[in-house]
């Protein structure tokens, strides 16, 4: 196939009648050129509803990569512009967030309609700025842009009734990449506005133009000033937005490298963060697949947008028995692909975004060849002007090859073969990434079973690179966290109403561990009242709490209270892999009561204990496959066994904390109740089935995050521990729990409860010791999938910073008070969301 360049002389009808060749089919660039001319000499910043020159006075060139010719000068935002934009967003926030949902819905609906009305201009500008084919911008990017605003207009409409417990986060900083400038803008802005946030968005330096065109549309519909601010500029401005103290949430799509920088930059700030990062997504073809359709799938997977797609199916895994056949079909198909002028309607592959990216692709392909893989390209030649690269196929690639591991972000496919479904899954998951996967098989059993086992946020069965606002998109592992699309995408821009963000409140109660009962003002009082009522009720119910009812905090009866007997020395160890093991250090640490008296001793955990515990938690991963009913039964059983030891726990808690026995008893009873809560949730926190506008079901499956490190709050030695462990294991995670540093005995007492409750070995591992040392080891451990940290603000910073190593999911309390006794704050969906990640499995139907 020839590349579609305009011939110097047009052949005659008679000549073409013989050759049946394709000719040029150009989309007119004139309206877009007129638009650019109308904006010369340069595009400006959109801040607070006004168009401003950049404070830097600097502009940079936006270039059409298909021609290497400049399009227009773009404003380069400076630091003062970031401050101004954030201030504008902050100023707009109170009124915008206070608007009735219906009003926000009207604005979002108007945006969707504006996009549809100006669809072609946006598509042509996007193609000129980015280099992607007009077919894609016209048929995919822009329609999805409108769809996204339309979908989230719906959530704006419904939010107040459907999510009454949530509120917007505040000012959101959003940084988007150059590969889908408009679509990524929609993924960021639509849910943020629907939820009631205000936005500062920075498009990528390569592709700024359509963000400005979009800003004109929102200006036209009269979106209140400051609700959306658009800052064009370079990557440093993105980081400045992320670091800005008045930004409450950062959303980023881009490379894993930059994602790490942003994770560290925001560590400990308390900012919400969502990251959609790189991928090396597997495209798995089984021997019972429709091979011709799979070939078209490959085209859509890796030659869509020149392969510059974070979820590109760049690793073709094909069953050995059909590998030769598939590769032959693929090569024949590649000969038919057309590379060239992206404004030509009959072009499949346009221009690479810029010379630097082209050089990266060329370098990685050279590496692939040098490492011994077999490279194949079609016989035709690419245009020589502009940034073009031909579709490229590697075979005989080993998993260890650079090109099998590294994201190329170009039209380059690497092929590996497998023998069995198990091997396919192992190869597919043999990557640090986990963004997407595609599975081709005509067997519903095989396809769904493999989809279940793949570590990826999106799995397309017999399809690939299909997107819809209804279905969340986002990564597992180092492909980032958070979801875009669906209700999951909305949650990224919401926070529980009860949470207080003001720093001074957090500081006031920073030492909440000491006086947990008084923490949190009114909440604390409310909890206290409920707690004092709860204990007798529960005691009566169980009929074994008589002495608690009579217990006098200040007048112990030595006969009734065994704590006053000379104790039998107990030796709590670490609880790892279902066994009590001595701490690696060989040291113990004292546990003291409020009066300074030694209450007991626990093992001094160290990094090796954590290492062993993580291994045990990994080995117990089969817990995720236990039925939800089974997990519920075990949680009930834990509650039952805790109940029979309620007195013992009450006594230990009282002794460690100095709290009145009735209060300690209430903590125990609340812990039992909480176990019941999560036993109840275990088989009810189900996913959803979305209805994208295709003949397809999208199964939004709630999967456990994996192996979680849980740093339990210091206050409430038992309840804090149970509040984290129970939701985690209810959802199928395995855990390494570090109990209250000050009052660890409640957790060590818990070993016996776990041992008698049929909890499989390794599902719950407990390491006692210094919080921040152990948390650091957990946060740095690359085989941990997540860490929940409910210690100090500084510890949270450290954990979030260290988590950037493998981009593990973190959930931190930032030292802010949380009323653990209170059901609203101490349990429920917030915990379940943290314990799960959503995998969207697209299942097209139809025979």
């Amino acid at each position: 196939m020839t590349t579609p360049t305009i011939p110097t002389t047009t052949p005659t009808v008679a000549e073409i009648f013989e050759t049946m060749s394709y000719g040029p089919a150009p989309e007119s660039a004139q309206p877009a050129a007129d638009w650019l001319d109308a904006h010369r000499p340069h595009l400006r910043l959109f801040i607070g509803g006004a168009w401003r020159e950049p404070s830097s006075g600097e502009y940079f060139e936006s270039v059409n990569p298909a021609t290497n010719r400049p399009l227009i000068q773009v404003a380069k935002a400076g630091e003062a512009d970031v401050d101004a934009a954030v201030a504008a967003a902050r100023a707009a926030f109170p009124a915008w967030s206070a608007l009735p949902g219906h009003a926000r819905a009207r604005y979002l609906y108007a945006i969707a309609r504006q996009v549809q009305k100006h669809a072609r201009l946006l598509a042509v500008l996007e193609t000129m700025d980015n280099g992607k084919p007009i077919r894609e911008t016209r048929d995919i990017d822009v329609p999805l842009l409108a769809r996204h605003f339309s979908y989230y207009a719906g959530w704006a409409q419904l939010m107040a009734r459907e999510l009454p417990e949530m509120r917007p986060v505040g000012v959101v900083g959003q940084i988007i990449p150059w590969n889908f400038p408009l679509l990524m803008l929609a993924w960021k802005i639509a849910p943020a506005l629907a939820a009631g946030n205000t936005v500062v968005l920075k498009p990528a330096g390569y592709t700024s133009i359509t963000a400005v065109a979009f800003a004109e549309l929102i200006e036209k519909i009269g979106l209140p000033p400051g609700v959306v601010n658009i800052l064009t500029g370079d990557g440093r401005m993105g980081e400045r937005i992320a670091r800005h103290p008045d930004v409450d949430k950062v959303a980023f799509t881009g490379s894993t490298k930059v994602g790490r920088i942003l994770r560290r930059a925001t560590a400990g700030s308390g900012k919400k963060l969502s990251l959609e990062l790189g991928g090396k997504s597997p495209f798995v073809v089984f021997d019972d697949a429709d091979l011709d359709s799979a070939v078209e799938g490959v085209v859509d997977a890796i030659w869509f947008n020149q392969g510059q797609v974070c979820c590109a199916g760049s690793r073709l895994l094909v069953q050995e028995s059909v590998a030769d056949k598939l590769i032959a079909k693929l090569r024949a198909r590649m000969e038919k692909l057309r590379v060239g002028d992206p404004l030509d309607k009959a072009v499949d592959i346009g221009a690479i975004v810029g010379p630097a990216q082209l050089e990266t692709i060329e370098r990685l392909v050279r590496t692939g060849v040098a490492e011994g893989a077999r490279m194949w390209q079609p016989s035709w030649a690419c245009p020589t002007e502009g940034c073009f690269y031909p579709p490229t196929l590697f075979t005989e690639v080993a998993p260890a090859a650079t090109i099998a591991q590294t994201e190329i972000f170009g039209p380059v496919l690497v092929t590996l073969t497998f023998r069995t479904p198990a091997e396919a899954v192992a190869l597919a998951n043999n990557t640090a990434y986990g963004l997407a996967a595609s599975v081709w098989s005509e067997s519903v059993n095989q396809a769904l079973d493999v989809a279940r086992q793949l570590k990826a946020g999106t799995v397309w069965i017999n399809s690939t690179n299909v997107f819809d606002a209804s279905s969340g998109f986002g990564g597992y592992r180092e492909s980032g966290f958070g979801r875009e699309g669906g209700i999951e995408g909305l949650y990224e821009y919401l926070t529980p109403k009860w949470e207080m963000h003001e720093a001074h409140e957090a500081a006031e109660t920073a030492d909440a561990g000491e006086t947990a009962a008084q923490a949190n003002g009114a909440n604390g009082r409310g909890r206290r009242q409920r707690a004092t009522q709860a204990a007798p009720t529960a005691a009566n119910g169980h009929g074994n709490g008589a002495h608690v009812e009579h217990a006098e905090p200040d007048g112990y009866d030595p006969v009734e209270n065994p704590l006053l007997w000379p104790p039998i020395d107990r030796t709590p160890k670490q609880f790892i892999g279902g066994k009590q093991v001595r701490p690696d250090s060989g040291y113990s640490r004292g546990v003291y009561g409020p009066d300074g008296a030694l209450v007991g001793e626990v093992g001094e955990g160290n990094r090796k204990d954590i290492r062993n515990a993580v291994e045990a938690a990994r080995a117990a991963a089969g817990w995720a496959d236990a039925t939800a009913y089974n997990r519920a039964q075990i949680l009930y059983y834990i509650a039952e066994n805790l109940s029979t030891r309620a007195d013992e726990f009450t006594g230990h808690i009282a002794a460690m904390t100095g709290r009145p026995s009735v209060d300690a008893r209430a903590e125990v009873e609340r812990s039992i109740e909480r176990l019941f809560t999560y036993a109840a949730w275990a088989d009810k926190y189900d996913g959803a089935i979305h209805s994208p506008p295709l003949r397809s079901m999208t199964l939004a499956v709630h999967e456990p995050v994996g192996a979680l490190g849980l740093i339990c709050p210091d206050e409430y030695p038992l309840l804090g521990f149970v509040s984290l462990v129970a939701p985690a294991i209810a959802m199928g995670n395995t855990v390494v729990a570090v109990p209250s540093e000050r009052h660890p005995l409640a957790a060590t007492d818990f070993y016996a409860v776990l041992e008698t409750s049929d909890v499989p070995a390794g599902v719950v591992n407990i390491v006692t010791g210094p919080h921040d040392i152990l948390a650091d080891v957990l946060a740095r451990h690359d085989d941990m999938d997540g860490v929940w940290y409910f210690g100090s603000a500084e510890g949270a910073r450290m954990v979030e910073d260290a988590s950037a190593g493998n981009m593990k999911r973190t959930w931190c309390g930032y030292g802010r008070p949380r009323a653990w006794m209170d059901a609203e704050q101490g349990e429920g969906r917030e915990f379940l969301r943290a314990a799960t990640q959503v995998k969207n499995i697209w299942v097209p139907v139809g025979e």
Binding site: P11, V13, M20, G23, R135, S293, V845, E847
Partner: protein
């Protein structure tokens, strides 16, 4: 310079016809068709490929030469068939042909397709043109006639001068998975056709699934079909791009397996020039340029020609055309 029809006829006759092969059920069993993926390809292909201006004119001219100009109505008479044959000889006004610079090509339709009763009329009307007459046969359109009658009908049409026979398969064989029976039937039809080329109508709108379409395609090709054809034009759903994609992929696989080229004929529902271009792009993309020419590709259509004439008149005049400017068939 030889006319187009002479040249293409020559090509056809020097190319070996598909002789068929023994029924090999592994090809039938190996068929995998994913409907959603096929539909996606069929939906995006017309968005990925388009031809404009001179290219479009040339492609539309090519489309005319691929047409089996068809009349299959209860009220057909010798008079209407003679009119159709006149149109077949001169599908485009001379003025348009000249302005396209295509006079030397002498464009004509690929064949005229009628019921058996009118074969002799068409043969006489087309005498000297070398345009073949195609007869629909074997109890067209439902195929529910006794088998011996079907064989007789083919022989009678061939004897009356039909050089192409469009047979219909017994859908029941395909729907019940009785592939041996389907194979035997089509094989017998092929023998009855003798030198006449056989187009095998699958009536895909009645086969239920794309997988059954692919399987029936394989069986018919193994039984010696020269063409596989989608529809009679009488089913409630006739030629569609997804069905066509499945059939041309089967043709490709058969060619790769046996080395023989089988032709493809979408029929029914193709009424616009734009649709014709979509199908030509499908053939070019999936099978190559050779399968865009009448020896291996036909449109079964009656109204299509008029729309193509209008588009070509627009191309040469720059004015949108009226249907009444084009001579009726």
């Amino acid at each position: 310079m030889a006319t187009l029809i002479e040249r293409e006829t020559a090509t056809r006759e020097t190319r070996e016809r598909n002789p068929g092969m023994p029924l090999d059920l592994s090809h039938v069993e190996d068929v995998r068709v994913n409907r959603s993926a096929v539909e996606r390809r069929a939906a995006t292909l017309p968005a990925r490929r388009t031809v404009k201006k001179t290219w479009q004119a040339a492609w539309l001219l090519r489309a005319i030469t691929d047409i089996d100009l068809t009349t299959l109505a209860g009220d057909d008479t010798p008079g209407t068939v003679r009119r159709l044959c006149a149109k077949a000889r001169r599908p485009l006004r001379d003025e348009i042909v000249e302005r396209l610079g295509a006079s030397a090509l002498d464009p004509r339709v690929a064949a005229v397709c009628v019921y058996h009763n009118l074969v002799h009329v068409a043969v006489a009307a087309l005498a000297g043109s070398d345009i073949p007459v195609a007869a629909v046969s074997t109890g067209f359109p439902a195929g529910q006639n006794p088998f011996p009658q079907k064989i007789e009908e083919i022989r009678a049409s061939v004897a009356a001068g039909a050089r192409e026979i469009d047979i219909v398969i017994s859908r029941a064989h395909a729907l019940t998975g009785n592939w041996q029976a389907l194979y035997d039937e089509v094989r017998a039809f092929r023998e009855a056709c003798g030198p006449a080329h056989m187009k095998t109508i699958l009536a895909t709108g009645e086969l239920g699934t794309l997988r059954t379409v692919a399987r029936a395609s394989w069986v018919c090709m193994m039984a010696g079909a020269d063409f596989i054809k989608t529809s009679t034009g009488k089913e409630s759903v006739n030629a569609t791009l997804p069905v066509s994609l499945v059939m041309v992929r089967a043709i490709r696989e058969y060619h790769e397996t046996t080395g023989y080229r089988v032709g493809f004929k979408p029929a029914g529902g193709i009424r616009t020039a734009k649709q014709a271009l979509d199908w030509l792009a499908l053939m070019k993309e999936e099978l190559g340029e050779e399968w865009m020419r009448s020896p291996l590709f036909r449109f079964g259509a009656s109204g299509l020609l008029t729309d193509i004439e209008r588009q070509l008149e627009y191309f040469v005049t720059g004015r949108y055309s009226a249907a009444y400017h084009q001579p009726m068939a």
